[in-house]
């Protein structure tokens, strides 16, 4: 049973983690990306359509990431160049993305809610089926897909990217003090746009993983608030890569375990609220600490 929870927990963690990676870089540059949900949905939709059309999971995944990236970039322009509010614009983009996809589905495919296409190529498993026999992690390894590996690699590389490259330094400086960036001759808006495009790219990957990991069917409710769970994760992890990843894993495992907890009498709906409650509690605790420190 633990094997199964671990295996499905990791599968459920991946999309949250991918989205959170983008979101945390975005927030380090000073933009709270509330539109991850919408961009994940777009990514999932594009992944299904392209996968069915080309039969290639790789092409589908790249297409999903690129489309979301372009959307993310366009979205950032409304904030940086037109002065839109990042919160309401983000919520608006979620509504717009859902509306546009619904519109396309019913217009182009004549379906509402669910899109089934033939010949959708799913994500391959990285290891041969025989690894199932490995104790404890066998199940997990057998179901491991390339995007999960990418997510783990990205998390491993991220501290280095943020700490040792110019891009990372500029991102952090932008979120911390944009006027300083201007004073030293750099362009903070450009960095915010780039980081939002980056977040879009990873949200697209997250959507592709969600769509192509197991079922290969698109559904309007496919993301089911995971973009917001990702938001919760990087808030919980205070924008630090490893802490954020740990929060994602926790939320993923919770998700996997909730079906089982039902059998011991815990209602799954309430368990679904735990990530949000945890963020709330974490925020309260950290504020209490920082207030006490200043007093």
């Amino acid at each position: 049973m633990i094997e199964q929870i671990l295996a499905s927990g990791v599968v459920l963690t991946t999309p949250i983690l991918l989205a959170a990676i983008g979101g945390l870089v975005n927030r380090q540059a000073g933009i709270v990306n509330i539109a991850l949900e919408g961009k994940m949905l777009v990514g999932a939709f594009v992944a299904i359509v392209i996968s069915a059309a080309t039969g290639s999971w790789l092409v589908a995944t790249l297409a999903a990431a690129l489309v979301s990236m372009v959307i993310g970039y366009g979205f950032s322009l409304t904030i940086t160049r037109l002065g839109a509010n990042m919160i309401t614009a983000g919520l608006g983009l979620n509504v717009l993305a859902a509306g546009a996809i619904g519109f396309l589905m019913s217009y182009a495919y004549g379906s509402s809610g669910t899109l089934r296409l033939p010949d959708v190529a799913l994500l391959p498993h990285v290891f041969p089926q025989s690894v199932e026999s490995v104790p404890v992690v066998g199940q997990l390894l057998a179901h491991l897909d390339p995007l999960t590996i990418l997510a783990v690699l990205a998390i491993a590389v991220l501290p280095f990217l943020l700490g040792a490259t110019r891009f990372g330094l500029w991102i952090r400086a932008t979120g911390n003090a944009a006027p300083v960036m201007l004073a030293v001759g750099l362009k903070p808006k450009l960095l915010q746009e780039a980081s939002t495009a980056f977040a879009g790219f990873f949200a697209g990957l997250a959507g592709a993983q969600l769509a192509l990991a197991s079922i290969g069917i698109f559904n309007e409710g496919l993301t089911a608030g995971r973009g917001f769970i990702a938001l919760a994760a990087f808030y919980f992890g205070r924008d630090r890569p490893w802490q954020t990843a740990a929060a994602c894993l926790l939320f993923g495992l919770l998700d996997a375990a909730q079906i089982r907890m039902q059998t011991v009498g815990l209602p799954p709906r309430l368990i679904g609220a735990l990530p949000y409650l945890m963020v709330l509690v974490a925020l309260v605790v950290s504020q209490m600490r920082s207030l006490r420190r200043t007093q």
Binding site: L161, A164, T165, R166, F167, L169, W170, R172, A173, N176, A177, P179, V180, M181, L182, A183, V184, G185, L186, A194
Partner: protein, 508 residues
């Protein structure tokens, strides 16, 4: 050989009807420190904005290294080697000092473009080298926001030097420094001068000019009022040119006739705002019918004291208003007890700048009769009260509903006074009342303060303009490092006041 490192020729710049710069020319050569002094609003900052490429002059031109240049923006000025050290430090507080040092011009270990790897070792070596050259020590791995203020300032200077700035503009660099830190800064600036760097030093503190600069230029009302080699002039002469004619109403000095104690403060202490001094065991009294001036270098606890008295800041100690203990009362109750507060920051605290003139004039009285019965607001009464208050102080405005931002600085300040003196408070706490106010406005505000005093009001007045303090006050207290270090007559010798203002190591 370069003669002019940075020069301005016949710079004119106006904002609407305000002629901020009316043909200013000055220059600084390599290895020279040129001080530019003048009161707030004299036109110093406009000139600096032109020299930095932030503003384009209406006419006139800028010279860099003996060449005429034209700046499209601040980046051009930076590229010409002009570096500005701001009053608000330009460091990202959550990054380390080292990261701040190299930001925008990182030494690279590998690759190019945005994803190139930064060579932190050589960055640190460069930082060490520069710090050593100008004789300071820096813990480069410290978070910038956690470093002492003068270190933050030094790092900003080092950053400019590292990026090849041959001309430094220091904008009131000592405003937030403690005296010993000021000395360190001056040593550093002198060493930079020896390297051939040209330095433009903006200040309104004469003592610092005399101590540091080679040359001094006084700007008054958008024009050059005086320029000389420091060795050939005196502090008194500079001072006379700064204030000359700027106080046309200053002729008449009337003192008040103090009555009973209104404000009684004993053992007051409070935490500091960032970069300032905490209050330490402050005791004094203000009587009715007198203006008590509080002199001091900015950031020595004046803001904290005024906020602690008005209830905006938590404080320990005893504060009594006409015999009533104000301990534990918040700002709302202290107002009700008879206290008015003129904020030093009119745009961000004294007024809600985007709200209507009407609301700004009545705010604070909106819960009481006749405007409100506690539940509803009588808009008619509100309008009448606002009109009455504005007329009493002759505020000039278009319509009551216009945002208060549409008024001139002087009229904005009159709105603040109209509101804060309306309930005939016993005590008025006044900070920087004439900052950013034109000459007529200054005269009007001075007479408002005198009238208030003459009607048996008590006033505690904080001002950075010593002239203003000496002209208005009945007596003067001097604040340094969060303490009251002396009390003098209003016509005391300026040098004595100045000596107290820079008193060091009082207790601490």
């Amino acid at each position: 050989m370069t003669r002019i490192a940075l020069g301005a020729t016949e710079i004119r710049k106006s904002y609407g009807s305000v002629l901020a710069n009316q043909g200013i020319s000055l220059s600084v050569g390599p290895g020279e420190i040129h001080a530019v002094v003048g009161e707030n609003g004299a036109g110093k900052s406009t000139l600096m904005r032109v020299l930095q490429g932030i503003e384009r002059p209406d006419s006139g031109h800028v010279t860099v290294m003996d060449r005429d240049v034209s700046f499209a923006g601040p980046a051009d000025a930076l590229a010409e080697g002009i570096g500005m050290v701001h009053q608000e430090f330009m460091l990202a507080p959550d990054l380390s000092l080292l990261e701040n040092l190299v930001l925008g011009d990182e030494p690279l270990r590998w690759g190019r473009g945005a994803f190139a790897l930064i060579d932190w070792q050589s960055a640190e070596a460069q930082g060490r080298g520069l710090a050593e050259r100008i004789g300071i020590e820096v813990d480069w791995h410290r978070r910038a926001g956690a470093a002492p203020v003068h270190i933050q300032q030094f790092v900003e200077i080092i950053r400019l030097l590292r990026r090849g700035s041959r001309i430094l503009i220091l904008d009131e660099p000592t405003a937030v420094l403690a005296p010993q830190q000021v000395n360190e800064l001056f040593d550093l600036v002198r060493r930079i001068r020896e390297d051939g760097t040209a330095i433009l030093f903006i200040s309104h503190k004469i003592g610092e000019v005399m101590a540091l600069a080679d040359r001094v230029t006084v700007i008054r009302q958008g024009k050059i009022a005086f320029s000389a080699a420091v060795a050939e002039t005196s502090g008194e002469e500079i001072a006379s040119h700064i204030v000359d004619g700027s106080n046309p109403v200053g002729g008449e000095i009337r003192r008040g006739t103090p009555g009973p104690v209104v404000l009684d403060v004993a053992g007051l202490s409070a935490e500091a705002v960032e970069k300032s001094h905490p209050l330490h065991d402050i005791s004094f009294a203000v009587h009715s019918g007198e203006i008590v001036g509080l002199a001091g270098v900015a950031g020595n606890g004046q803001v904290e004291l005024m906020e602690a008295l008005s209830g905006l800041r938590q404080a320990k100690g005893r504060v009594e208003l006409a015999g009533i203990d104000l301990g534990g009362l918040d700002a709302e109750r202290r107002r009700a007890a008879g206290m008015g507060y003129i904020s030093p920051d009119r745009r961000h605290e004294g007024l809600a700048i985007d709200a209507s003139i009407e609301e700004n004039a009545i705010a604070g009285s909106h819960r009481a009769s006749p405007i409100s019965n506690g539940l509803w607001v009588d808009r008619g009464a509100m309008k009448r009260v606002a009109l009455e208050r504005l007329n009493r102080l002759s505020v000039k405005y278009g319509a009551l509903r216009d945002p208060v931002a549409s008024l001139s600085g002087g009229n904005q300040q009159r709105v603040v006074f109209a509101r804060e003196t309306a309930g005939s408070p016993q005590l008025l706490l006044v900070s920087q009342p004439t900052r950013g106010v034109d000459l007529n406005g200054i005269a009007a505000i001075h007479s408002i303060l005198r009238d208030f005093r003459d009607a048996d009001g008590a006033v505690l007045l904080v001002s950075e303009e010593l002239d203003e303090l000496q002209m208005l006050s009945d007596r003067i207290m001097v604040m340094a490092q969060g303490r009251i270090v002396g009390a003098l007559d209003a016509d005391a010798d300026r040098r004595e006041i100045g000596r107290l203002m820079v008193m060091e190591g009082v207790g601490a």
